[in-house]
């Protein structure tokens, strides 16, 4: 039964990686922008939640609820005043700018919050578990996975059934024609990045409750997010969840064999998927 247990833990861990990745996937799907500062923004959001928790004495869940609109504003402003200026046919400028942002964020956070490891404490919930008969699962990992499913479900609903989602798809297809329909692509992009930062806040909440974080761990979260997005197929949100689950399962199986293999096993799974399906598991028909 231990392997079944490992499988379930791996899938639940995949929920966290899917949360890391969903914002990245959304932004890439709409504006073909790869945000290299995505991981650092997750850490930034975690510090924002920590700050609110410490200042107002709130539970991290409530603090995240307050941090989400703030992060939306951060994402909106980042897109509106920085990233929109570098978006264009050439993919290099946005990569350079977000790389620079990543370095600046890490050093800024180091300056303000120091290199000390931090954690969002939720007391008994951290070790609570639920017995499902054959396996016992942690309440927090289960909550993480459920939140990932809910977030991706909601994002998909927004994307495919609302006027905002229609605008997202139209500007993604053809920004010039979308502007002829009265849409301002730059405003639509700003809303998309704001929305991605709300998902980032959710990811930050579970990152901070699950393990320690410090200003330097952003790039590794970005790497997991990237792998989940690419395994799933660029721009497919449910694919991103599947991608997260695959990385999660590979990592837990690797760790089960030898704890040193955890991270490596995730990377190997990523390479294997790329070898077999270079465009990912669920590539979008129109790219």
């Amino acid at each position: 039964m231990i392997w079944l247990d490992v499988l379930v833990q791996g899938i639940l861990l995949g929920g966290l990686y899917a949360l890391f990745a969903a914002g990245l996937s959304l932004v890439f799907g709409i504006m073909r922008l790869v945000n290299l500062a995505h991981g650092d923004l997750i850490v930034f959001a975690a510090f924002a939640i920590l700050l609110i928790t410490a200042t107002l004495g709130l539970n991290p869940f409530l603090a995240a609820l307050l941090a989400a609109p703030l992060m939306f504003a951060v994402g909106w402003a980042l897109q509106r005043f920085v990233l929109n200026r570098v978006l264009g046919k050439d993919i290099l400028p946005p990569l350079l700018v977000t790389f620079g942002l990543s370095v600046a964020l890490q050093n800024g956070m180091l300056e303000v919050f120091s290199a000390d490891s931090q954690r969002l404490s939720v007391g008994a919930l951290e070790s609570a578990s639920i017995n499902l008969g054959i396996v016992t699962v942690g309440t927090l990992p289960l909550l993480t996975f459920a939140s990932a499913v809910a977030a991706i479900f909601l994002l998909n609903r927004i994307f495919y059934t609302t006027a905002l989602g229609r605008a997202f798809r139209a500007v993604s297809d053809d920004p010039t024609t979308a502007s002829l329909m009265g849409l301002n692509p730059k405003s639509v992009f700003a809303i998309a990045t704001g929305l991605a930062m709300v998902i980032v806040t959710l990811a930050a909440l579970y990152l901070g409750m699950r393990a320690n974080f410090d200003p330097s761990i952003g790039p590794a979260r970005l790497l997991y997010a990237f792998q989940a997005v690419i395994i799933g197929g660029l721009g497919s949100l449910w694919g991103t969840l599947a991608g997260g689950a695959i990385i999660g399962v590979a990592q837990t199986f690797g760790a089960q064999i030898n704890p040193e293999w955890q991270i490596l096993a995730g990377h190997i799974a990523f390479l294997v998927v790329l070898l077999i399906r270079p465009r990912g598991l669920f590539p979008r028909a129109v790219d």
Partner: protein, 235 residues
Amino acid sequence: MAFLSTHGLTAQYGQFKALFGVDLHVNPGECVAIIGANGAGKTTLMRSITGVLRNAPEMIRLGDTPIGALPADQILKRGIAMVPEGRKLFPSLSVEENLLIGGQVRKGSGRWSLDEIYGLFPILKERRHSPGTALSGGQQQMVAIGRALMSNPELLLCDEISLGLAPVVIRDIYAALPAIRATGAAVIVVEQDITRALSVADRVYCMMEGRVTLTAPAKEVTREAIHAAYFGAAA
């Protein structure tokens, strides 16, 4: 007063100058045809009017108001909608979503609604859940026209709406024009099919190499005058 007018309108792509001082106007409710060979500057003119290409503010006026420097989304909000050359439907959107996105920014409570568009082009109702780009060329053109109408425009720009379509399909599409004009909207029709253009328009402009070479009421213009304006040759 003219609904829309251009004054010495110029446009260029990098070093290449595409328009050299174009003056034209459209009166409220009027149908104006713009004809000319490939490369005459017709599409550049449409792109300038709709704000895809930015100009000096004074070069384009809506009534008295200079609008030349406004971006495309602001131009639409002022009642000017475009059916772009090549239809340009959004591939990720269904027929109905393509229509709805055209109406996302509506000017006033005009006539056009989804039902009105389906009344004008009944086939679109049957295909409303198909991806826009899965339709035939003629049906796609109907979606593109419907999408532009959904914003209840006071001026509709139709750029080469017959391009690449069979004559019988072109006839069906042009059959919708009277219903559109009945709402009081002005229409600019950019056409290479001169006979078709003259049959629907009140006035005609002919362009050649970025300049207007002829302006005349459609009913009075002679074949020789058009020949001279179109090809630059002596009639």
